[in-house]
Structure formats: structure tokens, C-alpha cells
Amino acid sequence: MPIVLIPTPLRRFTRNSSKVLVSGSVVSEIVDNLVLDYPEVQSHLLDSSGSIRQFINIFVDEDDIRNLHQLNTVVNIHSTISIVPAIAGGNLKN
């Protein structure tokens, strides 16, 4: 089953697990099933329209899904899916 790596800021919502097994054959299924298993993750992962939040990146193994097939990117039982929060900002002149 694919492994999903949970970033530190979201582990409170996955019972402090850093890695969880989630079934699915494409990224959208993985996300749906992750949210089913851990509903509190949803508001930090998805926006109100159900899309991945702007400041969240998802990698399948070494590749950003934006460079693959987005949420339709295929995963296999050996895939590692990483949820990577964007870390960005700036000073008060923004």
C-alpha cells in the first residue's frame, strides 16, 4: 500500500503518525482516503472547493505532481507520497 509522509505541522491530525498507509491508485484517491481516515486533515489540505490548497505541494516519490499529471498522477503500492507545506513569506512591505 502507498505510504503517505505527513509533515510535522499536520501530525496532530494523524494521531502523531509521521507515515500512514493509504490505499489508492491515483493521487486524488490517496487524498480522499487520507481525509476519510483523518478528517481533521481536510481543512489544512483542501480548500473550500475541494482542491489542494495553494500552499500545499504533493510529491510522488521525488516528483512534484504539478510536473506529472496533477491529482491524476498514478501511484503504485511502493510509492511514497509526501505532503509538503510551502514555506514562504516576507516582511511588512509585502
Partner: protein, 142 residues
């Protein structure tokens, strides 16, 4: 009430040096440590590249590979990735609107104000359940 952030001398030296050397650009990085009964203690820190394509005087961005490497480092060294630091050159150590929009819970956001004389002032912030930043008390024994 936000928990305290206790910063040990060595990681603070790394962070302070990085923001002074990067001035007038923004500098950024991660810090690691362990949870304590009243908060967390920072035991190590590392600077990473400010990868923004915008003006580095006013913006910073940490690329995803550096974030994943930080998580892996914490895992390998049995530490917790406690948060991220960045500098505000010539600006106070107060979160900007972008800082707030991008932030996630359960992470400390250490902002280090730095001026042309190399003087620094740091403040740490964490999101509350309403996604508003609340200041976190910083402790240093040096």
C-alpha cells in the same frame, strides 16, 4: 497561552549569523529540538537557500526539497522539526500578511528583525485554532 521556546546558544548563533550575513536580503532556515513540559527546546538549526524568485529584500521561500531534507534530518537525529526562521531586514519581527496566509499549525515561526548595524531582535509566533498568530515567549540562558 502559547508554550515557551527555549533557544540554546549554538542554534541561535547559527540563525543570527545567517540573518546578518544575508542582510539586506531575507534569510531563512529550520530549527530542531525536543518538546518539554512547558514548550520546546531548540537544539540545532540550519540555514537553507532563500529560493524566492521575487525580491529577496522583502520575500523568502524555502523549496520543497529543502523542506523534505529537514524532515529527514529530524527523523534521522531523533529530533522534532520545531519550526522555521526568517529575517525581516529593517522591519520589525512581526508576521506579515503573507506569513500568516501560508502558516500551518503546530509550527513555530521565528522572525528575526535585523538592521544595518547587525543588531537583531527576535520574536516567535504560532497559529492559534482561529489561524491567528499568537506570540510565543522565547527563553535564552545566555
Amino acid at each position: 497561552m502559547q508554550k515557551k521556546l527555549h533557544i540554546e546558544p549554538q542554534p541561535w548563533a547559527i540563525m543570527e549569523r545567517s540573518v546578518i550575513q544575508a542582510f539586506p536580503d531575507e534569510s531563512c532556515g529550520f530549527f530542531f529540538g525536543q518538546s518539554t513540559t512547558d514548550g520546546a527546546v531548540v537544539l540545532s538549526a540550519c540555514q537553507v537557500e532563500n529560493s524566492t524568485i521575487l525580491n529577496k529584500k522583502y520575500h523568502f521561500r524555502i523549496n520543497a526539497k529543502d523542506y523534505l531534507a529537514a524532515e529527514a534530518y529530524a527523523d534521522q537525529h531523533q529530533l522534532q522539526l520545531l519550526g522555521v526562521y526568517h529575517s525581516h531586514p529593517n522591519q520589525p519581527a512581526i508576521p506579515s500578511s503573507v506569513d500568516t496566509r501560508v502558516a500551518l499549525p503546530d509550527f513555530s515561526y521565528l522572525i528575526i528583525s535585523v538592521n544595518p548595524l547587525g543588531q537583531t531582535n527576535k520574536r516567535s509566533w504560532r497559529l492559534d485554532d482561529s489561524r491567528q498568530f499568537q506570540e510565543q515567549l522565547i527563553k535564552q540562558n545566555f
